[in-house]
Subunit: 434 residues, 4 copies
């Protein structure tokens, strides 16, 4: 995990402190259930809750682990220091380490998903606001990086909104994928523990019981989770790429917000770099890199091998922390993006009306001119624009063969931007609701 | 696409024939809608349906394309040969090539998804059947490839079933992701075509209208689709790995079906190789390799660049065709898998009762023996098994210090396999329903 | 493999015809060596060469394979039809199928590498030619997509040349990686065949003997091979991205060659899309997708499992065929790229001298102006350029506080482009040799 | 970076402390060259070396950076505190931040490569030692996880040695890839700095000058570097997989070293898990995950965009640190691996001679028995072994039709293990040298 790209709330989910807190809660709830079943004394279960507000000592647990070579035993030993050996021996009864570890991982992942969901909602809010703000701000649409037909900046924001609306649904589905827990024993047979314990613990931790586990919760769930994060990362790259293009010197239709104080901004006013969105492009690659190892983690040997563990120690925190940071950074970029409608207009007219050449061509044929002749008419006027910088509309109006087919009004109409924006409200209604 | 790993029905979805058929249907339905809107004559729309049962000539279209350098125009030219130039000129009006191409791709992907769904259902059926058949077939559960505690073969099949039940839901979600169409024009503004055309065509083709498109349908949808196929592929590898392990010479708890006629089977009866599941392991890698390029396809420049296209020409057919083949092959392997319960029993007893040592240890401590003493008692008997091949139960029964703490009956009870299988029905109910 | 992105020579390497031809040569050379060793009769070895000019019948072999279920046996059966059963029984003696298959794969990969090497050499030639042609064509250098300092188009071509010079060396190393053969038997012990056979066959086929094989040639070799192709693919994307940027409407410093005949070129002169380089961007993703499965192929079980085989049937042809096509396409794009030096000059001056602001700042401080004051001086003149479109040099010359520190000549000197190009020859010497 | 899988020496390479030390050295050497060229005073260059043994204060630099928002300026400000503002203003003259940052990254990568090279050499030493130790320890070779023909444990170690010998060469080549530095200015034109500075600094830092750079050193170099690490990671997985298989309960031909003190080892002697090699399998996945983002980093926009930076902050330390840890762990596993030759022998004879059935079949045909008859003879005796647990050799000797074709001695000879090991010395000579 790269600290520079990390926010405290998500980092805390992956801290040793949080981990031990979750371990504790799982063990305590399990004791409740075991006491209810009569497997352990009620007093033991009650005693465990004495540590409810305890601050576990991570260094102390590490110390014990360095002797026992077993993390869960180290924790339980430390726990006994709070609740007394007498009752402590009832803790963890019938359970396997993996019961605690795997359920904990999923608690962490669902909490991480909750933060990510909030991130996405903030981003969507920003996109929606900017979409309505620029609903009618006309800019040139581009295919292949080449001017095509006019569109609006609002549509650009709106399509990103729609993409993130899909991502929100995907993220919620991904959260549900990993929102399961398992307390099922060494190979998942519940030989040593009643399924009722699993049910109780899961309910208490906000999870569903895993219908069938082995020693571990099946890793296709986590694969799906990380694959989904990979899709979100790619959508981040998608917006980032658009903004980077808009900010390039020759386009300059928008800029990342640049605070007055930032050095160099006014001595080199042309040199404001889209470093945030470039950074997001890189972070997208990093988050995506979790997908393949997560997929490779699915095929474990028999009832479990532990190869998945080192992978998850990496990608668990890394992918969620960096995605959280990236989403937050992206929301900020969108919220504060400086949009330049005047440049948009200027760019649109870069080749003085040429982007309308296809409409004119169509109008001529519809007016009865043969396809070949229409083509020649458009071509000879277009080339004057392209080569001599003439204005397309002016040239057309001055071409008698063109005006023989189309009235000046009809020609003017072809250059009406309203033609291109007339369905914007309808599209907005589809995206944002009526 | 590797022909050897392809089945005709899925291949046909990606054939030129099918592609042109879908193009035709899109154009024809669009004409209906345009006629309804009064944009083109009703006769033109009707005329298009004259080609309803036509067999388009792929070679002829290729020939035209080699001149026009444009696939859609080539097709339309060929179509005119069926319906006449007079009416043909109304076809495709107001549309962009991408309207046809992208909608077609999604028709193909949803059809592919339908086949895959059927494949998964067949596989699930096979897993369920084998699960019930071997519900009580005891085998040793293994963690880290090492004997742990008993489980049953039925539970193995059942957990794969549960995994594929999840995959079925994922696949259906993935299908919904790509079940959209777009007829929205050069940059998605509907400047040249009414949204009603899109609605009509999509309804006719079994798709939902894409709420907001640019020149193309957004590629986060396809990324999610292929990412999901990657998860399924990993689940294939998961079962394949289990079977490969079961078939290894030293384990031999199951074998891929081996027809009597297959050469070498009886002159070298030990040499039956799990080649199908090894092959599936490789195919899983191939299908997974579609995930990263699909993610890289999301960030297109502005309203579209065509970089995604060559990628999709590869991964579209390859991932679906090979996954279809793999699922079918896997279903066959599961259906016909030869299971050897006797070897399972033999393997379980390889170290004559040693897998019960933890239960005995626990019983001794619960009977009041100190943890340290219990450990010593178990250890000295266990080592006789490990080093001299003794029988664990026999040794325990003959150890007076053990029998001082546990009655013979209590000792015997520790070796009762029923202890490990008692929850199997409950787990099955969770997996397959009551 | 996508036919549209395939060239015949590379495709032929992967044809069934070529494969059987290589099989034949391996078997024939092996017979020579076996005869030399006295293992088989000299007449048998000689008889095998009777099929030297034979055209093997692929359909016939397929037919036999459908019965024998074994490809090598099917081929040998067909071979016997040419050389007679009497001698044919000596063919393949002591060998395993993998001896033939793995050695063949490496012959194919080395031949593929040879074609790729030629492709890279052609590309390098084109880059070098264009580099010298535009050695002194000044254009603005850009960091973060923003104008930075001047550079030359020649340097752009030269850096791509240097990158491909590295790729050429990598490709040759990758070729050497897979230029080994193995005739070592079922588990690589040479139990049934003398190492001399391997040596003879490898020498004849242009390979080195694999120092130690199992049943297969170790797959780390192939992993390295495909990883290298992935690097080359990324370098293709690198040039493609540069060209796509140069061709965007607002930049227009270069265009992919557009033949006069291409439709639409003159009626919509602004709409020439960089479809070749966009296509190359996608092909780069496809070729790269071979890397991960190739890495996953390395860890085979014990002396071999066959999981690698299905992967290689895919990535072997696909990665080499598409890379060959992409390299050829890219070479064509570079060779014919239409470069617009005038637009380069125009773009360079877009913000009338502002790109020199840093040089001026430095000059002022070197002339004794305090850093803070220098900053203020530059800033107030820069803002006039940025906001009012003034000319930076003119403003500086008119600012008495600036001219108090710098003479007009010194100011002029800061706008001298020769300052930026003075080391071009030296860099060219480093790249292309003196 | 996961601390648990990190060794201090490699971690130190990536520390802020080391980074600033390298920055300092680059700046100081650059001053020397600039003074030599007369660009800055000799005293200034000398003054910089006053900080030679300084301990830079990372927290202090961070503090300054939080104000200046620029890491290199923050460092230079801190440096001035050691050498005085008067001389400090000559530091970094004509240089760009990237000159320092990129050259530093490559210094770090080459140092990391040096550690990795040492790791590989230690691993190779271990493999060689164990290879000679078990040169003649016969074990069954397995294809498809199924017994094939005998081989030796020494050959297993030897083939891993050969694989790592290749990896060593690859790693050295990868090191050379990134062993370049650049001091070439904002867009690589040397406009503000003489190439002689670059040459001097690179020589001092153990690097070659990058022949042509832009603002950055081209990232195809780093892509190749990380791709190579990915291959090494896969080779780690290869050995790890072999050992995991050897340690599984049913095979038990070897075990990871298990110290006497480790809990549970003797009370559950069967339950020694290959957790180190499972862990290595996961680490291999993690290291490999750096490859794709490194490939995606190659295509930067124009003279640079900064998207690569966040990626490298992740994969730079992570891939090298985890690979270093993994190599060291693997070397330890190999050095101390507990090998069980008796179990190897036992496994070899699991199906009492059946693995020799192919040799017998061959011998019968060579003795003139028709292929069909030979097959029948082998088959009927093989089935007795397979189904009734008979001994293959005994059965053959007792079969008059067999003994009619082969003398008892000839039959015995087929079971001679020496047949399979006769070329081991020759193979060893190929791998380790004569």
């Amino acid at each position: 995990m790269i600290e520079r790209y990390a926010r405290p709330e998500m980092v805390e989910i992956w801290s040793a402190r949080t981990k031990y807190r979750i371990w504790y809660e799982i063990e305590a709830h399990a004791c409740d259930a075991q006491a209810e079943l009569g497997v352990i004394p009620k007093e033991a279960a009650e005693a465990v809750w004495k540590a409810k507000d305890a601050e576990f000592d991570v260094a102390r647990i590490d110390e014990i682990e360095s002797v026992t070579k077993h993390d869960v035993i180290a924790f339980l030993t430390h726990l006994a220091e709070f609740i007394g050996d007498g009752q402590a021996r009832f803790v963890h009864q019938g359970m396997t380490s993996s019961d605690v570890l795997d359920t904990t991982l999923n608690v962490q992942l669902t909490r991480a998903a909750d933060l990510l969901i909030a991130d996405v909602e903030r981003l969507m809010e920003a996109l929606k606001t900017r979409a309505y703000e620029h609903k009618d701000t006309v800019r040139i649409g581009r295919s292949h990086g080449i001017h095509a037909e006019p569109t609006t900046m609002g549509l650009t924001f709106a399509r990103f909104y729609a993409e993130w609306d899909r991502n929100l649904a995907r993220l919620k589905a991904a959260r549900a994928e990993v929102a399961t827990g398992a307390i099922s024993g060494a190979v998942g047979t519940f030989a040593n523990i009643d399924p009722a314990v699993e049910e109780h613990v899961c309910a208490a931790m906000g999870l569903a019981p895993e219908p069938i586990s082995t020693q571990v919760i099946p890793r296709d769930r986590h694969a799906m989770f990380f694959a989904t994060l990979g899709v979100l990362a790619s959508s981040i790259e998608n917006i980032a790429t658009e903004i980077r293009h808009m900010q390039r010197t020759e386009v300059l239709e928008a800029e990342e917000f640049f605070s007055k104080g930032q050095k160099g901004s006014s001595a080199m006013p042309h040199k404001r770099n889209p470093v945030l969105t470039e950074n997001l492009t890189g972070l997208a690659r990093l988050v995506r890199s979790a997908v393949t190892p997560a997929l490779e983690n699915v095929a474990l040997w028999h009832e479990r091998d532990i190869s998945h563990s080192s992978v998850e120690r990496g990608i668990g925190p890394d992918a969620t922390v960096h995605l959280d940071f990236a989403l937050s950074r992206l929301a900020g970029v969108v919220e504060k993006l400086v949009v330049y409608p005047e440049t948009m207009e200027k760019n649109l007219h870069k080749f003085r009306g040429l982007v309308m050449s296809q409409r004119v061509l169509l109008a001529l044929t519809q007016a009865g001119v043969s396809r070949e002749d229409a083509y020649t008419l458009v071509q000879r006027n277009a080339m004057k624009v392209w080569e001599q910088g003439a204005d397309f509309r002016t040239e057309l109006l001055a071409d008698p063969e063109v005006t023989a087919a189309l009235s000046p009004q009809q020609i003017e109409e072809k250059f009406d931007l309203g033609y291109h924006t007339k369905q914007v409200d309808r599209i907005f209604a589809r995206v944002f609701g009526a």
